[in-house]
């Protein structure tokens, strides 16, 4: 084990809170009670004015920064951005990261035991939306004594949550940072999600979502879903740069084993996903993405949907992101300035595709840090 770098938050322990009050969901369903798992870094100040909520993306979790044990090979998923001296400087901010409901990393989800039946929820777990997550996170904020977030930030699906926070709780969000997101999915986005879901749903080991009872899981479906996802997270350019037509063994084998480097990459991504991620959660998360559309309630008028927003916003997009292209971020920017709200927009030159939001790209780090410095300077407002 290498020593933990000094700019890391270090060893962290997730916390867990139980909410015994029923949560009414957008689907019409109700979660009678639920648990949320979260991590915090830094210290909440006496006025509780330095709290920042980090929202995670499709396959993310509450483990944003630091290490769970000295033997951890890898830190949290946003280690580049969260820690002492980083964009979300934990010497200044109290950073909170919450695992979304329906996830498989500790918050109540399909693999949790349904108290009504005594067995795993499986397909009985209600569908959750971005709005439901925000409502559940608001209760977490209450319990943590945070009336108003200095900022709510997130990338991809996490960026959508940040936007939803600003719409649903305008008085509880001073700033939002929305990274590599979109105001809604396109037909193409939904199509990719549907192929991923079909891979899972048609896997014989899916058992209508009851695979837990059969001591198995739809590995094939989940692997294909993850491979497909990874193709859309990378750009054509970065795939050419990383893999090209490179051959794993230096020659063609004339069989169906791995020949090209890119195949090896996808298989590796798929293998590391299975066993770590729950197939029912994958279905739920992709549906939450598909359903996200704040303007759906305002006849497609996004500016009208964002009319309640009071927060100042930084929107960041990446040039090579075709999953949530810069033009989609610009729709959010336009709707915000149509409402005369304070908004800035940066388009970062990056070849990494959608995954860029997870990377340490100097220009991205600089803009994000500059904005968070302003957030900290003006945090009483």
């Amino acid at each position: 084990m290498k020593p933990i770098p000094p700019d890391s938050v270090g060893l962290v322990t997730p916390a867990r809170l139980r909410f015994a009050e029923p949560l009414a969901l957008a689907s019409g369903g109700v979660l009678a009670d639920y648990e949320l798992v979260y991590e915090t870094y830094g210290t909440l100040n006496a006025e509780a004015s330095n709290a920042v909520l980090v929202c995670h993306a499709l396959s993310g979790s509450h483990h944003v920064a630091g290490y769970h044990s000295a033997d951890d090979k890898r830190p949290g998923w946003w280690e580049h951005h969260v820690g002492p001296g980083k964009s979300l400087d934990t010497r200044k901010f109290f950073v909170v990261a919450c695992n979304n409901l329906g996830s498989c990393f500790g918050s109540t989800g399909p693999a949790s035991i349904n108290p009504a039946s005594g067995r795993a929820f499986g397909p009985e777990f209600p569908m959750v939306t971005v709005g439901d997550w925000v409502a559940s996170q608001a209760r977490l904020a209450d319990r943590l004594g945070i009336r108003k977030w200095a900022a709510v930030v997130g990338g991809s699906l996490g960026g959508m949550q940040a936007l939803q926070w600003a719409i649903d709780y305008p008085d509880r969000v001073a700033h939002t940072v929305i990274i590599a997101a979109a105001p809604k999915l396109t037909a193409q986005n939904i199509a990719f999600n549907e192929v991923a879901r079909q891979a899972i749903l048609t896997d014989p080991d899916f058992y209508e979502g009851r695979f837990y009872d059969h001591a198995t899981e739809p590995r094939r479906g989940l692997r294909i879903a993850r491979m497909l996802g990874h193709i859309t997270y990378l750009s054509d350019d970065i795939m050419r740069e990383k893999f090209g037509r490179g051959l794993r063994g230096g020659k063609l084998n004339f069989d169906y084993q791995v020949a090209f480097e890119v195949e090896s990459y996808l298989r590796h991504q798929a293998d590391s996903f299975v066993g770590r991620f729950d197939a029912n959660t994958y279905l739920l998360m992709t549906k939450a993405l598909d359903y996200f559309d704040p303007a759906g309630l305002t006849d497609g008028d996004l500016a009208k949907a964002l009319a309640p927003v009071k927060a100042d916003t930084l929107v960041i997009a990446f040039t090579s992101d075709w999953r949530f292209a810069p033009a989609r971020s610009r729709e959010i920017v336009k709707a915000l300035h149509d409402n005369d709200l304070n908004v800035s927009y940066a388009e970062i030159n990056a070849s990494h595709g959608h995954d860029a939001f997870l990377m340490r790209i100097p220009r991205y780090v600089d803009i994000f840090t500059a904005y968070m410095d302003r957030v900290f300077a003006g945090r009483s407002s």
Partner: protein
């Protein structure tokens, strides 16, 4: 605080307090910051350069990273009181189109540009036979971003052709000072021109 540049002060004097301003090619955001502080103005800057974008974010100026040559289609009609184009007109691909766009999204437009009719420019081109290089136009012909240079007279003619009514104009030198000669013969002695204009009312 550093005393404001005279072009900033002229623009500040031109705009009404509490105005909504769109600054095209806003650079490091210093004009918008000045107008916010001195006039209570609000609005957005558009800027293509990422270093400038970061400077704007750092100083708390709303900035949208974009290419002006792509137009202002994101902005609705009459969404600003003023649209400002400061020392950028000469660097855009279609100055005439951009002027029309400015008066679509704003009630009034304010433009500043380096005057190609300045005597030193004329001397370098007319007598020395070389493309002019000056403090206001520091680039060589082969590396200049300034692809659409004009004189005060040229600009006035374009305004006429585009049915743009000039409301006010001034000239300053490259250090943003004003001298008597500039007032008397602006197209010869003015290095930087400032115009405030609106769409001409059809009579």
């Amino acid at each position: 605080m550093i005393p404001a540049r005279i072009d900033f002060r002229i623009i500040g004097d031109w705009i009404q307090p509490g105005s909504r301003v769109l600054d095209l090619g806003c650079g490091d955001g210093s004009l918008l910051a000045y107008l916010a502080e001195s006039k209570g103005a609000s609005g957005y800057g558009l800027e293509i350069d990422e270093t400038h974008v970061e400077e704007c974010v750092r100083r708390g100026v709303n900035v949208i990273q974009t290419d002006l040559d792509a137009g202002l289609s994101e902005f609705d009609e009459r969404s600003f009181d003023y649209v400002v184009l400061s020392l950028t007109l000469q660097a855009v691909r279609y100055p005439d189109r951009l002027l029309r766009e400015m008066l679509r999204v704003g009630t009034e437009g304010i433009v500043t540009f380096p005057n190609f009719g300045h005597w030193r420019t004329r001397w370098q081109l007319g007598v020395l036979g070389r493309m002019p290089v000056s403090t206001a136009l520091p680039h060589e012909w082969y590396n200049t971003p300034n692809i659409h240079l004009c004189t005060l007279r040229d600009f006035a003619r374009l305004c006429e052709r585009e049915q743009i009514e000039v409301l006010e104009s001034q000239v300053v030198d490259h250090a943003h000072r004003q001298r008597l000669a500039q007032r008397l013969l602006p197209n010869l002695f003015g290095e930087i021109a400032l115009y405030r204009f609106r769409r001409a009312r059809l009579s």
